[in-house]
Symmetry: C2
Subunit: 319 residues, 2 copies
C-alpha cells in the first residue's frame, strides 16, 4: 500500500468520525435481483444524495482548523447546493449558492428552505465560474468545491467505507463519475480495504470525458455540458485531485459508459425490482450492472441519489 493511499484512507476515517452526527448511515441492501450484489442507497441520505458527506466534512474541517469562514459559497443547480446549505446552517454560518437561471425551481426552493441565500439573476452555465469569483471577492466567503477538494473527497469516501464494513467480501465497487468526488473517495476506501477490489466508474456515453481521461492518462474536457438523463454528472471534466486519485495513483481500474436507453431502463428496474426511487444519475451503476459492463464478482453499487424530476421518471416508467 502506498503512503498516498494510507494517508488519504486515514483522512476518510477522520471524516467519518467528524460527520457522524450530521449524516445518516445508509443501509447496505440486498436484492432478489441478484443475491451477490449489495446496494448503497444514498437516496436515503439527508437531502436525498451522498453530497452532504463531503459538504459537512469540508465545512466542519474549515471550522476545526480555526478558519471559521464568514460564509461559504457554492455553484450548483442540484444536490451539492442543498448539501452545502444544510452543512452551513448546521454550524451557523451563511451559505450563498449560485444557481443557473434555468434550474429546476423545486431544487431552488429546497436550497432556500435549508436557509441558503440563492443568486440566480444573470447566472448561466457559461458565466458561472466568473460570477463565482466576483461574488467570493465581494463577500469574502470560502468556496466549497463540489468535487476538486480533499475534504470533499474524503467525506464522499465514507459511503464506500460503510458499505465495506457491512459487506467486507465485495469484489467490485462501482460509482458514478461526474467531477469524480464520489468515485475518488470510493476508490480510496475500497483499495484501502483490499487491494484486489476492482473499482469502476460509470458515466453516460454522451459525457465520456472521464472514460477518455482514463484512456489517455490526461484530463479530457467536453466541449459543452452534455445533455443526459443523468443530470448529476454534467460536469465537463474531472478535477485535478480526482485525476490524481483515479488515474495517476491508479486507484480506479476501469471507467465504463452507458447509453441513455440503458440509464432509462435502470431507472425502471430500480423502481420495479429494487423498489428504490432513484434519480437517473443514481441509477448509473445499476445500469452498468444490468448491461453486463461490470467485472465479474460480488459487486457493491453506489446509488448516489434520489432527487428525480417526477415528470422525467413518469415518462420512463410509462414506456
Amino acid at each position: 500500500m502506498t503512503a498516498f493511499l494510507e494517508e488519504h484512507a486515514a483522512q476518510v476515517e477522520q471524516a467519518a468520525a467528524r460527520i457522524r452526527d450530521h449524516v445518516c448511515r445508509t443501509p447496505a441492501l440486498t436484492t432478489d435481483l441478484d443475491q451477490s450484489i449489495r446496494l448503497k442507497p444514498e437516496c436515503f441520505q439527508v437531502t436525498g444524495s451522498f453530497k452532504p458527506r463531503g459538504a459537512f466534512n469540508a465545512v466542519l474541517s474549515l471550522v476545526a482548523r480555526g478558519e471559521r469562514p464568514r460564509g461559504v459559497i457554492a455553484v450548483s443547480s442540484g444536490n451539492h447546493a442543498q448539501a452545502v446549505a444544510l452543512a452551513a446552517s448546521s454550524v451557523g454560518i451563511p451559505a450563498l449558492i449560485l444557481i443557473p437561471e434555468d434550474a429546476n425551481p423545486a431544487k431552488v426552493a429546497a436550497t432556500r428552505a435549508l436557509g441558503a441565500e440563492v443568486i440566480q439573476e444573470g447566472i448561466n452555465f457559461a458565466n458561472r465560474e466568473d460570477r463565482l469569483r466576483e461574488v467570493m471577492a465581494e463577500r469574502g466567503y470560502t468556496l466549497v468545491h463540489p468535487f476538486d477538494d480533499w475534504d470533499v473527497i474524503h467525506g464522499q469516501g465514507t459511503a464506500a467505507r460503510e458499505l465495506l464494513e457491512d459487506a467486507p467480501d465485495l469484489e467490485v465497487i462501482a460509482a458514478p463519475v461526474g467531477g469524480g468526488g464520489l468515485l475518488s473517495g470510493s476508490a480510496i476506501s475500497a483499495k484501502h480495504h483490499r487491494g484486489s477490489i476492482k473499482v469502476v466508474g460509470v458515466e453516460p456515453v454522451v459525457a465520456d470525458d472521464a472514460y477518455r481521461s482514463w484512456q489517455s492518462h490526461s484530463i479530457q474536457t467536453l466541449a459543452t455540458s452534455p445533455t443526459t438523463l443523468a443530470d448529476g454528472v454534467r460536469t465537463t471534466h474531472i478535477g485535478e485531485r480526482n485525476f490524481a486519485v483515479m488515474i495517476e495513483e491508479g486507484l480506479v481500474d476501469e471507467i465504463v459508459t452507458v447509453s441513455e436507453e440503458e440509464i432509462a431502463n435502470a431507472v425502471a428496474v430500480a423502481w420495479s425490482r429494487l423498489h428504490l426511487a432513484l434519480e437517473p444519475t443514481g441509477a448509473l451503476t445499476l445500469s452498468a450492472y444490468l448491461s453486463g459492463k461490470l467485472p465479474q464478482g460480488r459487486a457493491g453499487l453506489m446509488l448516489s441519489g434520489g432527487n428525480a424530476n417526477l415528470q422525467t421518471v413518469s415518462t420512463i416508467l410509462g414506456k
Copy 2:
C-alpha cells in the same frame, strides 16, 4: 399484560428465530420529511413485500410440528402467492397457487418463477374459495391462509418487532389493514413492547370493513371486493383470529380511512421525498400520516410492499 398478549408475543419471538435465515431484516429508515418518524420499508423484503414473514413461519412450523405436508396451497393474485411459493420451494415441498384469471400476468409469472404450480383456468373472485376446497381435497395439500392463521400472524409480527428493536421510543405504530395479518401481528409486538403505544390500522375509505368492524365490535363484510388503488387490501372482511387480536383483545387503538386521492398523493410523496418505490397498499400508512390522521407522537410507519403496477405509478407521478 394479559396472558393472551404474553403468549402471542412469545410466539412472535419464536417466529423471528424460525424465519431468520430466510427473510431480510429490513432497515428502519429516517427521513428528512419529519425527523420524528421511522419507516419500515418491507418493499426491501424478499419478494418485495412483508408476506414471506408469515408464509415462512407457517410452512416452517408445519414442518417443525412433524406435519410435513404433501404440499401447500394458497389463493392469491398478489404478494401472498409469491411468498408461499418461495417458502415452499425453500423447504422442498410443492406449492399450488390459485390465481384469478384477470390477475396481472407479471405477478403470475413471478409466482411461477419461484417454482409454484399456478391454476388460473376458471378461477374468479366469486368462486375461488369453492375451487380451493375442491383442489385441497383432490391433492391433500395444506392451506396457508393469507391472514386468518396464527402462524401467519406471528410471522407478520416480526416486522414491527424489528422496528421497535431499532427505534424503541416510538409512540405510534401504523399498519395497513386488509385481512388483518400485518396489523394484528404488529399490534401484538407493539403492545408487548409498551402498553402505551398507539396502534393504528389504515385502510381505503372504499374498503372500510375494518373501520366498521372496529366501530361495531363485530366483523363487518363488504358486499363486493372494492375497487381501490390499494389492491393489497381488497379482502372483504378481516379474519376471526385477526378480529380477536385487534378488537376483542383491544390491541388496536384505532382504524382510520384514506381516500383514493390521498393514497395517490402518498405514492408520489414516497417517490419524491422518501425515495421509496411503494405499491399503493405500501403507501397507506404514509397517506394517513400526510393527511394528519395519525395520533400525535413519534410514529413508525409499516410500508408493506413495493410490487406496484408501473403503468399505475407512472400515471400517478405524471399528474
